[in-house]
């Protein structure tokens, strides 16, 4: 401008000439922290991420995200003991997010709508043998098939699913659901052979021309704890009772059934006994309710169905129709000690639910595969001593034997096998070892929970207890779409941005711009370090702890800008 108004000598300038970024001593960075739910999921599901996707109604995308880690969401949405929920930060705010219920909703929606997964890779020409079709074997087969390998699953039993079918009763897991999810794996090209027990690993690998194998043989043998019993006593193993119910063999249990043990298998055996006509199903357990290994919800459901429990009791002797029970007392260390006081319990059948161990005799001759202490020896990568042979699930020692853990191990082993196969093929020599994540999950205290709406959890409806005892119909019902969506939206998105725009809104320096959403639906923002003064408001007001303040990196050159704070602001003040 040449002609200025009266008394004006300079053109108006913009404050953008003043690069206030030079003031900064800390800078905000968008973080992607590990949420407690995902950290706790034995199947390694990216829980927060698929919940986020489900929150805007994109159920199919959410399901596909979930399916990257777990091929059985409808099954696991029913039977998983959901350690994710136990860890969920929202529990410290009101109630945990019903992750498992949303998972089930997505799984059921997929079955209802017939969603399928495409193979992710071209056929590799490699052949892998999977022994056992329990969750470990199914998970491994699925992951290997996705990676283009030709997979054959050999299963000793007549039907597929392992303990999902022969252990977990129908009233918790309807078989149509299990069948539908297995069929989806078969549709990927996985070959299933039933009644095909592997009893010679070397022969099986040689004859089938396999390049690698996964052993997911589970733990089927009932543990034979010694219970003194008269000749005429009717004693059955819990797994026999459950398998009989599955295959509908005739089984004479009688009216009064005692179940010995305190785990989930005992609960399932007792509830199954009720459904098979037992009027009295009494669980005999040597310790107290607090110390029972069965999950609280399973105990409650059993009690609601008329199952009773004799706490602090061991079985001293079983005879026809009569059981001698000794009362116990807990010592200081919480261990039950006999008291010498005895009671009798009338029972037509005694069902032993004292745990399972793996039946691994057949592996004795397999070169390089070590078996010890009733489990297959594996290293941290789930590799046996024999190159290319991996194992997982109940057949290897784990912290807890669950279907979820089996799925996680099956998938982990499949990734190892995939790398092994490419290394053998010379595609990739170095096979890095698997490292458990060292990252600590985002703690509740880092969230700014002010911003979350108050929202009590949605409960899954249950079949009336009176109507459950004479039917194997499913007890726990699913959530409606409305409730599942609501439940997904209760997620706090611990550690990851969910697009609330708080950072964009609260920056006093306009240093944050909104970039919309990326192809994965993740919100994107950019921080302009030319102007960001590093005040930390964005980080403090981010509900989800998705912004971290990190020390400003040292500059290569000395700062060429001076601080622009008025002297008055610097040295006066309280």
């Amino acid at each position: 401008m040449s002609a200025h108004p009266f008394a004006t000598t300079l053109d108006p300038g913009s404050s953008r000439a003043n690069h206030t970024g030079a003031w900064r001593v800390e800078r905000p960075v968008y973080a992607h922290g590990l949420p407690p739910c995902a950290a706790a999921c034995p199947a390694g599901e990216a829980v927060r991420d698929w919940l986020y996707t489900a929150e805007d109604g994109s159920y199919e995308t959410a399901w596909r995200r979930l399916m990257r880690d777990n091929p059985l969401p409808a099954v696991m949405g029913r039977v998983c003991y959901h350690p994710c929920e136990t860890a969920c930060n929202r529990g410290q705010l009101d109630q945990v997010v019903g992750i498992n219920a949303v998972e089930r909703f997505l799984g059921d929606e997929a079955i209802r709508r017939g969603w399928t997964v495409p193979r992710g890779a071209e056929p590799t020409g490699r052949r892998v043998l999977v022994v056992g079709s329990g969750p470990a074997g199914l998970s491994a087969a699925y992951q290997l098939a996705l990676r283009g390998h030709a997979v054959t699953v050999r299963e000793a039993a007549a039907k597929l699913g392992g303990m999902l079918r022969y252990g977990i009763p129908r009233y918790r897991l309807p078989r149509e659901v299990l069948d539908a999810e297995i069929a989806r794996i078969a549709a990927l090209g996985v070959r299933f052979e039933t009644q095909s027990c592997v009893d010679d690993l070397d022969a099986a690998l040689r004859e089938g021309g396999f390049d690698a194998a996964f052993l997911g043989v589970g733990a089927q043998a009932g543990k034979n704890a010694y219970v003194p019993a008269g000749d005429s006593a009717h004693v059955l193993d819990a797994l026999t009772v459950l398998a009989a119910a599955e295959d509908r063999w005739p089984l004479r249990l009688g009216r009064r059934v005692a179940i010995y043990g305190g785990g989930n298998t005992a609960m399932d055996a007792a509830r199954t006994a009720r459904r098979l006509g037992a009027t009295d199903a009494v669980v005999v357990y040597r310790r107290t309710r607090e110390r029972m290994p069965a999950h609280e919800s399973e105990l409650e459901e059993a009690l609601a169905e008329g199952v009773s429990v004799r706490w602090l009791s061991t079985i001293a002797h079983a005879d026809r129709g009569l059981i001698a029970v000794e009362r116990m007392e807990l010592d200081e260390s919480g261990f039950p000690q006999p008291t010498g006081r005895f009671e009798t319990l009338e029972a037509d059948t005694l069902v032993l639910a004292l745990g399972q161990s793996a039946d691994l005799g057949w592996l004795a001759g397999a070169a390089g595969v070590g078996v010890g202490d009733g489990v297959i020896d594996v290293d941290a990568d789930l590799a046996t001593g024999r190159p290319g042979v991996y194992a997982g699930g109940d057949a290897v020692a784990g912290p807890e034997r669950t279907a979820t853990g089996a799925i996680g191990q099956g998938a982990a082993a499949a990734r190892r096998i995939d790398r092994y196969l490419s290394a053998v093929a010379g595609e990739q020599r170095d096979v890095p070892r698997q490292q458990p994540s060292a990252e600590t999950p985002v703690p509740f205290g880092r969230l700014n929970t002010w911003y979350y709406s108050d929202a009590p959890a949605m409960l899954r409806p249950q079949l009336d207890a009176a109507r459950r005892v004479d039917t194997f119909a499913e007890v726990v019902q699913g959530l409606t779409e409305h409730n599942a969506l609501y439940e997904a939206r209760r997620c706090l998105s611990c550690g990851n941005c969910f697009g609330c725009d708080n950072c964009y809104g609260v920056c006093p320096d306009n240093a944050i711009t909104k970039l919309g959403f990326d192809a994965d639906g993740q919100p994107r923002y950019a921080i302009d370090l030319e102007y960001c003064k590093g005040c930390g408001l964005c980080a403090a007001e981010c509900p989800a702890a998705a912004i971290e303040m990190v020390p400003e990196p040292a500059r290569d050159e000395p700062a060429d800008r001076t601080e622009h704070r008025d002297a008055a602001l610097q040295d006066v003040g309280p």
């Binding site: 913009s14 709406s453 609260v506 006093p508």
Partner: protein
């Protein structure tokens, strides 16, 4: 880049952060805050020289962006002397993207009245005038002209950004400085626990006493509430007054990241009630959502640190109790307790 559109199929009324956060991808656009809009007016832009975490410039952008939206950009701003002016306009730079006039420390309401009169004389009544000042410029030196503006019912929305002292000149006490706060002119010394009790002015109440069309209080911690009040204010013609709490990290001696949290604690403990009044009568209050004792609010600020030293070292639980009584009174008088 794709924008995720809202799905209404299920009729779920719950949106994760509801309307508590600035935006929310699950809400329809019109239900998000004006600040969530990528095309917001940004009346105040980067490069200004306010301190890190300044609540005043943040409050000003919140208010003015909302006013720009409400007036469709037909807005003139008159600004008193104070931090807001000093940090934004070191000649020849300006951080303003709105027609903006600097007045003096004490006369912004009068200048704003004059601008409104001039626009009216030119037949431009659709152009609205907003006057703004700090608490010193409003509560103390500007009090007389503000009262005149109200009495004449001039068509101005006057906004006070209350950071509870004269920050620009080094944190001197104003008529809005709370009791027991340490400032440069109310120092802490034996027998002198900061600013006196029982002094100062309640300017929203004074404005209400003028029976002007609209008076409201707001805070930088409750953006939706603040924007709704600016929007509402712009629906009236005549004198309107908005009093916004804007924490100052420097004067309150708190980390710069705590500005919004402090404003939130001020409302949640009851010391700073949020309300609206029309024609001199209270018409709505924003109820406390998560009540906290004043303790939590005061402890987070260096200007009250002397209240929490142990008793031997001069800690004053008796004064904390008096401040709590003040908060309790607000909760009772304004009915901030239960649901409205």
């Amino acid at each position: 880049m794709t924008e995720i559109t809202h799905r209404t199929a299920s009729g779920v009324k719950f949106y994760q952060v509801g309307s508590l956060a600035v935006g929310n991808r699950l809400l329809p656009r019109e239900q998000r805050a004006a600040q969530a809009d990528p095309q917001r007016a940004n009346t105040m832009i980067s490069g200004h020289r306010a301190c890190q975490g300044c609540g005043e410039v943040l409050g000003a952008r919140y208010v003015l962006d909302a006013a720009m939206r409400a007036t469709e950009g037909k807005l003139v701003v008159v600004n008193a002397t104070g931090c807001l002016e000093v940090v934004s306009t070191p000649f020849p730079e300006s951080a303003w993207r709105v027609p903006w006039l600097h007045s003096l420390f004490g006369n912004a309401p009068a200048v704003a009245s004059g601008v409104a009169a001039a626009l009216k004389a030119q037949g431009h009544e659709e152009i609205r005038v907003l006057g703004q000042a700090g608490d010193g410029g409003t509560v103390d030196i500007g009090m007389g002209v503000l009262s005149g503006m109200c009495e004449r019912n001039d068509d101005v929305l006057f906004v006070c950004y209350d950071n509870e002292a004269y920050m620009n000149t080094g944190v001197q006490r104003s008529g809005a400085t709370p009791a027991a706060a340490r400032t440069a002119t109310t120092p802490v010394a034996p027998g002198h626990p900061g600013n006196r009790f029982g002094q100062g002015k309640d300017v929203p109440a004074i404005a209400m006493a003028h029976r002007i069309p609209y008076v409201a209080t707001a805070s930088v911690a409750d953006l939706r509430d603040l924007e709704a009040k600016v929007e509402r204010a712009m629906q009236f013609t005549g004198a309107r007054y908005l009093h916004v709490l804007v924490p100052c990290p420097l004067g309150w001696a708190a980390p710069s990241s705590q500005t919004i949290r402090l404003a939130r604690l001020a409302t949640q403990c009851g010391l700073f009630p949020l309300f609206e009044a029309e024609h001199g009568e209270l018409v709505s209050v924003t109820p406390i959502r998560q009540q906290v004792p004043v303790d939590e609010y005061l402890r987070a600020q260096g200007r009250f640190a002397h209240l929490f030293a142990d008793q031997a070292a001069g800690g004053r639980p008796d004064l904390v109790a008096r401040i709590q009584a003040e908060a309790d009174r607000n909760i009772r008088v304004y009915g901030l307790g239960g649901q409205p």
